[in-house]
Every structure is written in C-alpha cells, then in structure tokens.
C-alpha cells in the first residue's frame, strides 16, 4: 500500500472562512455557539447553534451547503497547488447528509402555507450527491466521484475512502472532505430526540446536558506521499491509518461497551502499524451526550490504556457539524501535529469521574505529539477512526 500525505487544507467553520480563522478560534478556546438564526427555534428548549458567519460567497442559485463546500474545497486545492492536469485526474470524495435541505425546507414551508414559492435552486441541488457535481464542475475535478452518507461520520469516512483510492494506486491525489449546512430537520430531529443542550455543549463535563448543532465544511488534499515529495510541496502530515467499523446494534445508541469504536481505533493502529503508546492525542467524537462521552472514553481507555493520552472535543467550540464534523476534526488533528498545540475542550468545568483522561479543559496545551487520532461515530453505530502522523 502506498503511503498517503496531507498536502492541502480548506475550512469554512463557525469561525468564518479559512483555515487560519478556524485554528485561531480553536487554539484560543473560543466558543462559536450562539443564538440560532437560520432556523426558527421558537418554542424549542434549545435555541442555539454554531452557524457560519456571512461572507461565504457563491451564487445564491447554489444551496448554502454547496457554497460552504466550494469555499473550503477551493482553499484546499489552492493550498496544495495542484496543476490543472493534476486536478483532472484527482478523485473527489464528499461526506454529506443534508444536501440542499435548508432550501428545500423553505420551499415546502411556503407551499404548506398555500403560497407558490419560487425556487432559485438548481435542479438536484437538494440531494446529498449534488455536492460532487457542483465541486467537480466548478473546480475541474474529473476523476472518480463518490458521495458517502454515514451520518455523523461521513466526513471522516470520505478521507478514509480517498486514502484507500490512493493507497491502492487508483489515483495519486484526491480532494476529500465533508459538508453540512444547518437544517430544520436536523435541528428539530435532535431536539425531538432530547439530545440538544439549551446551553453550549460541554463534552466530558460531569454536568453535560447534550449536544449543540453546528455547520461548516472542510476539505483536504490527500496525495501519494512519493508524488507529494517529488512535487516539493508542503506536507502537513501523513494519514497513517484508518479504521471503519459498524456496531450493528441500535439506530441511535452506540454499543454500550463501545465494541465497534474499539475495533475502529484498533484497525487504524493496525493499518498504520503504530503502537498505541505512540499516540499522544485523540480528537474525540465528544458530542456531550451522556451516552457518547462515557462510552467513547471507555473505548479509548481499552485501546490506549494509560491516562497519559490527551483528549479534547473541538465540538465544544463549533458544535456538531454533522457530515462536516469528521473532516473539520481531521483538519484540527492535523493542525495539532503541525503547531504542537492541542486545542482545548471549551466549557469543561467539572470533569466527569467516569472519564479517566486529561480532556484539556478550557485552555489549549502545548504538546509535541507524534501521532494523533480523530474519532467520528455516526448514528447506527458507523464508526471511523483516522490516524495522522507528523510529517
């Protein structure tokens, strides 16, 4: 299998457009979860979300999600400096769930009220697989295209699949990432499941009350390591391994012993031939639901044993960005290796006694980490672990 390098990063987050704004926010421990404006939260217990601020650009004929994806993807491609010909050959793998649902909902909302709404949206733009069409056409990516829909691990799964395409020699470069805009169905669905916190989420806190929803997009350029070296381009990190497993247990709850999570983390280590002791940081799935955090901490402990591993949940700052989460957190993990700074878990006051780890409360920590993992676990027990190593 051919080793895979990360050579380009692009982000649109609740901190704004660009990788720089993202890292500045994360490393300063800023919480971007605020009163929601994109969806009407009247009457809900939870009325907050982490929304991307104005200024993403793009034609209003595109869905908000397409515009988020385009801005992030463009930054990643420019960062990697892929030539026109290299773009033509590159694979495009996108993790997505909501598609243009935000605009579709608005249309049905109007219709339900007996009005005849005009839709500015291009046909098909409401579906999750619309993103590859929009990105591929606008950015000149003409290799294999894949859309992955594995709920909240979609963004991470897209990096894993893209790494496979490179490792197997199918392509030598890929643009991979995830995107989701805030939607009513997501907000109302999680509200109905009683999983949303009225206050900004507090992962790994004893008094956590559930999650916060966010939105955004993140893309990375993955590339055959040898070719990246030959191009003399900046290599941020190696994508040293990944593991994908399924609980096959319950529609929303993770397996109570975290059995599938354990297998995902072990598979990532095995694939990278990395000993657990070499890993210094885990960017946790860390949703701040009572179930996830306890079970995830237990699973991490089973794989990595000792308490020396630093863990944090960047969802404490940007909320749970759904299909974008795995990709945004992969970028956070890569930047942790690059800057030798572990982003904190904001809002963590009273550590949960069931979580036997240092969860880096409130303030970022300087730490030169050799290897780091990023966990993403989707509904239905769809588990993905990505393992990154210093370049």
């Amino acid at each position: 299998m051919r080793p895979v390098a990360v050579t380009g990063l692009g982000v649109v987050s609740p901190f704004g457009t660009g990788v720089k704004a993202y890292w500045n926010g994360l490393s300063a421990g800023v919480c971007a979860i605020r009163p929601a404006t994109l969806v009407d939260t009247e009457g809900f217990r939870c009325r907050i979300a982490a929304e991307v601020p104005d200024g993403i650009g793009g034609s209003p004929r595109r869905s908000r999600a397409d515009r988020l994806a385009l801005a992030a993807a463009r930054e990643a491609l420019e960062d990697a400096g892929l030539s026109r010909d290299e773009r033509v050959e590159a694979a495009l793998v996108v993790g997505a769930v909501g598609g243009g649902m935000l605009e579709a909902e608005a249309w049905y909302w109007e219709r339900f009220r007996g009005r005849r709404p005009a839709s500015r949206l291009a046909p098909g733009a409401t579906l999750p697989f619309a993103h590859v069409e929009a990105l591929g056409n606008a950015l000149g990516l003409e290799g294999p295209r894949e859309t992955l829909v594995t709920a909240c691990s979609s963004g991470a799964a897209s990096l894993a699949l893209a790494a496979d395409l490179i490792a197997d020699g199918v392509v030598s470069a890929a643009l991979a990432g995830g995107v989701d805009a805030l939607t009513r169905v997501c907000f109302m669905g999680f509200n109905a499941l009683k999983l949303l916190s009225a206050e900004p989420c507090r992962p790994f806190d004893r008094d956590r009350r559930g999650m916060s929803i966010g939105e955004g997009a993140a893309f990375v350029v993955l590339e055959d390591l040898e070719r990246a070296r030959a191009r003399d381009v900046r290599i941020y990190a190696a994508l040293a391994g990944h593991g994908m497993t399924t609980d096959a247990y319950h529609v929303t709850s993770p397996h109570p012993e975290g059995e599938g999570m354990v297998r995902a983390m072990k598979a990532a280590l095995a694939r990278g031939r990395i000993a657990p002791a070499a890993v210094g940081y885990a960017n946790a799935h860390g949703t701040a639901t009572p179930q996830n955090d306890r079970i995830e901490a237990r699973a991490i402990r089973e794989v990595f044993g000792a308490e020396r591993l630093l863990i944090s949940s960047t969802k404490s700052m940007i909320g749970h960005t759904m299909a974008a989460a795995g990709a945004l957190e992969a970028v956070a993990t890569v930047l942790t290796l690059v800057h030798e700074v572990v982003p904190p878990t904001a809002g963590l006051d009273t550590p949960d006694p069931d979580v036997a780890f240092d969860c880096v409360p409130r303030v970022a920590r300087e730490a030169a980490v050799e290897y780091a993992i990023s966990n993403s676990f989707g509904f239905g027990g769809q588990n993905v672990t990505l393992l990154f190593g210093r370049a």
């Binding site: 650009g57 034609s59 209003p60 005009a118 500015r120 046909p123 000149g140």
Partner: protein, 91 residues
C-alpha cells in the same frame, strides 16, 4: 465592461463549465443566438442555462432576479452581454 470583454468571459465559461470546444467558442460572435432550436444557435438547453447563470453570477458578482422573465436577455450573446453590463454597473 464593454460587451467584447464580457463576450470573452462568457466564452471562457462555456469552455470551462459547459465543455464547449475552444475552437467552436472562438467562432462565436455577439449576434450568435443561444437557445437550442434557433437557427445558427449554440444550442443551450434549460439545464445549460442554469449552469451558465450560476457561473455568470459568480464571475460578475451579480444576482439575477428569477421572479422576472429573463428569456429575452438570454436570446443571444449580445442581449446577454448588455444585461450583464447593466447589472454589473448597478451592483
């Protein structure tokens, strides 16, 4: 922007986004009609017009109001260039 400059941009969009042959794009003139079914036109269909509209909005930083009938503006390069120039000036 004068119509000639806008025409060159539109040709670049047709090549990059709608996969027109660059040689064929070179032959297009201001009076060339756009919609398919008209003699001498470049044969754009309704989906092509949507793709073209997105590209125009992003390239020229304008927004086209869909509540108005835009058919006349998309008749030929000439009408489209004039429409874009007016919109871009107002933007």
């Amino acid at each position: 922007m004068d119509p000639k400059e806008i025409l060159d941009e539109l040709k670049a969009i047709l090549v990059a986004r709608l996969k027109f042959d660059p040689c064929r794009a070179g032959d297009m003139a201001l009076e060339t009609p756009l919609p398919k079914g008209i003699e001498g036109s470049i044969g754009l269909d309704s989906l092509d017009f949507i793709e073209l509209s997105i590209a125009i909005e992003e390239r020229f930083g304008i927004v086209m109001d869909e509540s108005q009938d835009l058919t006349a503006h998309f008749r030929s390069f000439e009408t489209l260039c004039r429409f874009i120039a007016r919109k871009a000036e107002a933007a």
